[in-house]
Amino acid sequence: MSDAPNSEKAVAVVPTSLSVTDATQVLARLQARFPDAKISLVQNPGPAAEHSLLLDSTFAREIAFFLRDDPELQLDYCSNVSGVDWPDKEIVETKKISVPDPAGGPDKIVEEKTKRFEPGYLEAVYHLFSMAKKHGPVVIRLRTGNRSDQVTLPSLTPVWRSCDFQEREIFDLYGIKFEGHPDLRRLLMWPEFKDHPMRKDYVAPDDFEWEPTPHDQVLARAKARIAANDAASGANVQPEAKS
């Protein structure tokens, strides 16, 4: 063993073949099977490198059935469905442009800033495993058109039974409407409730009393309420005497 270190090194650098559940492999499989569907790879830059597939919502149900029934993949178990809220955001892009100096010196580098508005959307993320093949996860994403009126996605509960409660919870907390869900009701909050508490722009009802250490939003609200009380009383009266 010790007499041939070079040959061992050469063996070690040979890349192992990607597993069948690798996102790029699944993507190639899906593109061959569904040439009309728009499927894209969403890279995960973190060390986990768990890349996911963004599916076309018109084909999502067919693709899901394929992922479940394909003999190579057999992704028969949906372990987790998550909702994600991506709010509207303004992106400032900085470009460095080199401008030639008219005096004949070296080129000046000027920063040019452009603002770009990116509309928000909601996402449902499904983590799929195979009990039969003992592999996974394959992560697929579905994206809504926007955050207000185009919030319908196809339900994958007909494909994986375990999505039932999780899609209901996403419907409850994020407001994504899953078309084709057998029983789409709120799961945690009461039926009369109108808000979607896990959205980034949700404001919880202000029913706080005084707290010894208010902070963050509670502190901001406490200040606003004290200012409002002062304005209502019309006098600069302190509620409690200073000690």
Binding site: K194, F208, E209, W210, D216, K223, I226, Q238, E240
Partner: protein, 226 residues
């Protein structure tokens, strides 16, 4: 005894409260047991507090542990957890009260007959605890029903629950059965039922019962103004 005969007006029939413990002990050694109806009534009630059998969160596990042989809540006569509010004397609110659960808890309280007592067990039942800044947790059950004993802890140990129970027993023993300071359940003007909150579009309506609970004054109001 000669001193007693020199008192100007004849004393009324002595209630048990009017003689000292030493005198009572002296009489007891002669085989005479003196007591009052009030004392007997409270002694009986305080030693057979039947709690309502319901738990809301992890505090309920400690409540169950208090009922087991190791801690043995039966030593204090409170081991008979009743599955019906009609048969219960004590409601141990053991755990997080979500806003979705709050109307049901208040309804259970309304269904309990007087005399009834309430223990708020754990940080969540007292104030919402670690979930206070969430959107879905009631910030203390005392916003809707009157609480007799607060047991802090997250969750409180079974010993803490037993201590709370002992304090409740002391409270019951100190209650009067007549007069202006009579116990709550003997006064017609004291409410026994409390309005059940309804589910609103953003919160439960109302978010608290002002007849029971009002936010405390803020001693740091001047410091928050900047």
């Amino acid at each position: 005894m000669s001193e007693n005969s020199s008192t100007p007006a004849p004393a009324p029939f002595p209630a048990a409260g009017n003689i000292s413990d030493a005198e009572r002990e002296e009489l007891r050694r002669h085989g005479i047991l003196l007591t009052s109806l009030e004392e007997l009534y409270n002694w009986g009630r305080s030693n057979s507090i039947w709690p309502l059998q319901f738990g809301l969160a992890c505090c309920a596990i400690e409540m169950i542990a208090a009922a087991t042989a190791r801690f043995d809540i039966a030593r204090f006569g409170a081991e008979i957890f009743r599955p019906s509010p009609r048969q219960a004397d004590l409601m141990i609110v053991s755990g997080t009260v979500t806003k979705k659960m709050a109307p049901q808890v208040v309804r259970l309280w309304n269904q309990m007959p007087e005399p009834k007592y309430c223990i708020a067990m754990g940080a969540c039942a007292i104030s919402g605890g670690p979930f206070k800044q969430g959107y879905n947790v009631l910030k203390g059950i005392d916003r809707f029903i009157p609480v007799d004993i607060y047991i802090p802890g997250c969750p409180p140990r079974p010993e803490a629950l037993l201590n709370g129970l002992i304090q409740l027993q002391e409270k019951i023993r100190a209650e009067r059965i007549a007069g202006a300071n009579a116990a709550k359940h003997l006064r017609a003007d004291a409410p026994s039922e409390f309005p059940v909150p309804e589910y609103g579009e953003h919160d439960i309506v109302p978010s608290c019962n002002p007849a029971v609970w009002n936010p405390p004054a803020n001693p740091r109001a001047d410091k928050l103004k900047s």
